[in-house]
């Protein structure tokens, strides 16, 4: 351990100054800081704009849906009014007249009270009805006359008819040649004076 002072002092030369490696970074620090702040603020603003636009789009959707609901409600009210109109007696009567539906006036005896039978009474009534039906069938069978003897007629064998499709041969239609129309000239075609064609050349 060297205790002596003054020996081997550190010599500093003014001419050469070595820059420590962290000095440039420290100069960039404020710039970086400002950049970082700008990015942060920009990011926050961007987020805010994004959410605001989302909100306004949603608000527009909400108001459109509300209008649609209101419109549907109005249509429902309209339909209800239509039902009330269609169930009115004046309309029903007009339809009865229009379609000629035959109705009759109410008859006093059309409704009457029916006694309700007990289970045993129902069974008894059903048995009585069956017995009566059987008696009627027997009586009918006994009173019906004997059927006459049937004569068997000779039946001719069925002839199968074969249909043949006849195709009539039709002469093909004559091809009418179109002549050019460039000059006017009367021309009689092969001795037939009734047929005259005018040619334009």
């Amino acid at each position: 351990m060297k205790i002596q002072s003054g020996k081997n002092p550190v010599k500093r030369s003014a001419a050469v100054q070595t820059v420590p490696p962290s000095a440039s970074f420290s100069k960039l620090k404020p710039v970086l800081f400002v950049l970082f702040m700008i990015i942060m603020v920009g990011g926050v603003c961007e987020l805010q704009v994004y959410f605001k636009s989302k909100t306004s789009t949603t608000a527009a959707e909400i108001s459109r849906t509300k209008m649609e609901i209101k419109r549907t409600e109005r249509e429902l009210v309209n339909l209800r009014n239509l039902i009330a109109e269609r169930t009115s007696w004046s309309y029903v009567r007009s339809q009865i007249i229009r379609y000629g539906i035959k109705l009759h006036r109410p008859e006093p005896g059309q409704t009457h009270r029916v006694e309700r039978l007990s289970d045993s009474a129902v069974k008894l009534a059903a048995a009585n009805m069956r017995a009566k039906a059987l008696e009627r069938a027997v009586a009918l069978a006994a009173s019906a006359p004997a059927p006459a003897a049937e004569t068997v007629k000779a039946v001719k064998p069925v002839q199968t008819v074969r249909t043949v499709q006849v195709v009539k041969r039709v002469k093909p239609a004559p091809v009418v040649k179109r002549r050019s129309v460039t000059s006017a000239r009367r021309r009689v075609v092969s001795g037939r004076r009734d047929l005259q064609r005018y040619e334009f050349r």
């Binding site: 909100t55 108001s63 209101k70 109005r74 309209n78 009014n81 109109e85 004046s90 006093p108 005896g109």
Partner: protein, 619 residues
């Protein structure tokens, strides 16, 4: 030295900054405090005024239903279409729009030329001179239905769309003129049942925009309950005026929907009664005809109709004699319909019995200096016979036996001369003079329905007492009121019933007498309903147009209830001046009762008595 300078300069700079900067900062802080704190409310209001709007929240008008909830008066959503013709730049566009307006809304060419002109002559308010100005407003149609508006908008789009836009099924058209049409949602009062119950329901006129001004009937009497309360709200909006859903919204005044009114009327019974009134109107060509059907146990009016009538949906049918509630306003001399009351009370007080005999003077009885006659020459009739044959002389003698005061009290106690207090405008009192003002002859005239007048409502109420074991109910037309917003239903109270008879036996005897009127041998056999016992009385009173000027015009009426024991309804009919041969209560009004009662009994599912059915129809 240089280091000292730099430090002194720095010190000076700092000092100057401190000297000028500090007051500036203080001033700014004070200003900031002043704006943000002291004047906060003012600037907030100013700012809010820029981005908030005040809007009305309209309520829905109440509707009227019958007892079962069938709609009688409703609200119909409509659209008012307005137009700014000055915004249509091209004449070809104007012609296309005019063609569509004529096609969809039935306007004429002349109307369209006048109202769709781009400029119009208007007087200057200050100078009074005519100036040519842009035509900024034209109302095309006030109450267009939703279907009409959809069809119009569809045609408008198709007219101005290009082929490409149609193929792409676009909902807009580039060629459509902008800011031309405005569609406002409005509501209109509608009567979906047409003429049914129109005189009682009444009608309304349209005041400014959506405001309804009821004129007659229940819509006027119940307007306080049915009218909505318009609210007010403040809301935030964007630059285009659109409401911001996420913004601050405040309801300054709460709106309220109108209340729904439910009547005691049954639509089906009302239709039956109106049908039969139409038949009698066509058959006898009277001036007016009225009919009322009521439930005697509760006093509920099941049907109330009058002819002539009108259709509230069609303004052309509004004739002067047809739009008012005449059934409540008109009074008439009821005639023989009044006889059962004095006979019933005489039985009740044991003055007479059903077998008491009265000599009917062979159709020629002078009392109080005036002659009283019957339809035929009756000799001696029992009390039952007096009712069965409707003898005026017999009834007069019974009234004379009771005396003026008691005769007057009979009719007063049965409600004649007092209103029924139904919610109908201008209900008449009728006329029943105090017995102290009666000349001697009047005691024989009031019991037979002359020298007094009543409305058909009063007659119905009195007959409800006869049908309800002597208990006279208060007539009811409004059954309940419903508040849609709260769901609260208020049932109109039943008034206490007044007992008219001291002895049930007397009432039973009276009802039996009234049954004989419609039985074979009675004067109203046409009121009989096969399978049921009908208790009723006819009335035929001659019109008097002045002293001793008797016309050949009649009020014909019939009132009765069926079945006689445990009646389901009371019906009263009055036909004013029927024109035909032998008009009378038994020939004009009684058949209306029979036809209506038959149908109503079937609707109410009241079984017929098999013993009373004609033999052919028994099952």
């Amino acid at each position: 030295m240089s280091s000292l300078t730099s430090s002194s300069v720095q010190t000076r700079i700092k000092f100057l900054i401190f000297l000028f900067g500090t007051p500036l900062i203080i001033l700014l802080a004070i200003r900031y405090f002043y704006i943000q704190v002291v004047r906060h409310d003012y600037y907030l209001a100013e700012a809010q005024g820029k981005y908030t709007s005040t809007g009305k929240i309209s309520g829905r008008r109440g509707e009227i239903f019958d007892n079962s909830g069938n709609l009688l008066v409703g609200n119909m959503p409509c659209v008012t279409i307005r137009c700014a013709p000055c915004n249509i730049k091209k004449n070809s566009d104007r012609r296309k729009i005019i063609d569509l307006v004529i096609k969809h809304f039935g306007k004429t060419h002349a109307w369209c030329r006048r109202n769709f002109a781009p400029q119009v002559w208007r007087a200057n308010r200050k100078t009074g001179k005519l100036e040519l100005r842009d035509n900024q407003y034209c109302q095309i149609v006030r109450y267009a239905t939703l279907e009409q508006v959809d069809a119009f908008k569809g045609d408008l789009l198709r007219t101005f769309q290009t082929e490409k836009e149609r193929r792409e099924k676009r909902t807009t058209a580039k060629g459509m003129p902008r800011n031309v049409f405005q569609y406002d949602a409005v509501t209109k009062q509608i009567y979906p049942k047409g003429r049914l119950l129109s005189n009682i329901l009444g009608y309304s006129n349209m005041a400014d925009r959506d405001e309804i001004a009821p004129q007659e009937g229940i819509v006027r009497e119940m307007n306080d309950e049915m009218a909505p309360v318009t609210g007010k709200e403040v809301y935030e909006r964007d630059l285009a005026g659109r409401r911001l859903e996420y913004g601050h919204n405040e309801v300054v005044k709460q709106n309220r929907d109108g209340k729904n009114v439910y009547l005691t009327i049954s639509e089906q019974i009302q239709s039956i009664v109106e049908d039969e009134l139409d038949t009698v109107f066509a058959e006898w060509n009277p001036d007016t005809a009225y009919a009322i059907v009521a439930d005697p146990k509760t006093g509920n009016i099941l049907a109330i109709a009058q002819r002539p009538t009108f259709n509230p949906n069609d303004r052309k049918s509004y004739k002067p004699g047809a739009i008012s509630t005449r059934i409540a306003m008109d009074v008439y001399e009821p005639g023989s319909i009044m006889k059962p009351f004095v006979v019933g009370k005489a039985l009740d007080w044991k003055e007479i019995t059903p077998e008491t005999e009265f000599y009917c003077e062979k159709n020629n009885w002078f009392f109080g200096g005036h002659r009283l006659s019957d339809v035929r020459d009756y000799g001696t009739l029992t009390t039952t016979g007096v009712i069965t044959k409707s003898s005026n002389i017999g009834t007069g003698k019974i009234a004379v036996q009771l005396g003026k005061e008691r005769t007057y009290n009979v009719y007063k106690s049965f409600g004649f001369g007092t209103r029924t207090d139904l919610p109908l405008p201008s209900e008449s009192l009728g006329v029943l003079r105090h017995y102290s003002k009666w000349p001697l002859v009047e005691i024989t005239r009031v019991p037979i329905g002359y020298a007094m007048s009543a409305t058909l409502l009063q007659v119905t109420r009195a007959y409800c007492a006869l049908a309800n074991n002597g208990n006279m109910p208060q007539l009811r037309l409004i059954d309940r009121i419903e508040d849609i917003s709260t769901g609260e239903v208020t049932v109109m109270p039943y008034a206490p019933q007044k007992q008219m008879f001291e002895r049930q036996e007397a009432l039973d005897q009276l009802v039996d007498m009234m049954v004989t009127v419609t039985s074979p041998g009675g004067i109203a056999t046409r009121a009989a309903v096969p399978g049921y016992k009908v208790a009723g009385k006819t009335g035929t009173s001659r019109k008097n147009y002045g002293r001793d000027k008797w016309n050949k015009e009649y009020f014909t009426s019939f009132a009765g209830f069926v079945p006689a024991k445990d009646p389901k309804f009371v019906m009263a009919i009055m036909v004013d001046t029927p024109r035909g041969s032998h008009p009378g209560g038994g020939t004009v009004a009684a058949p209306v009762f029979a036809r209506s009662a038959e149908r109503i009994l079937k609707y109410l599912n009241v079984p017929a008595d098999p013993e009373l059915l004609p033999k052919k129809k028994r099952r």
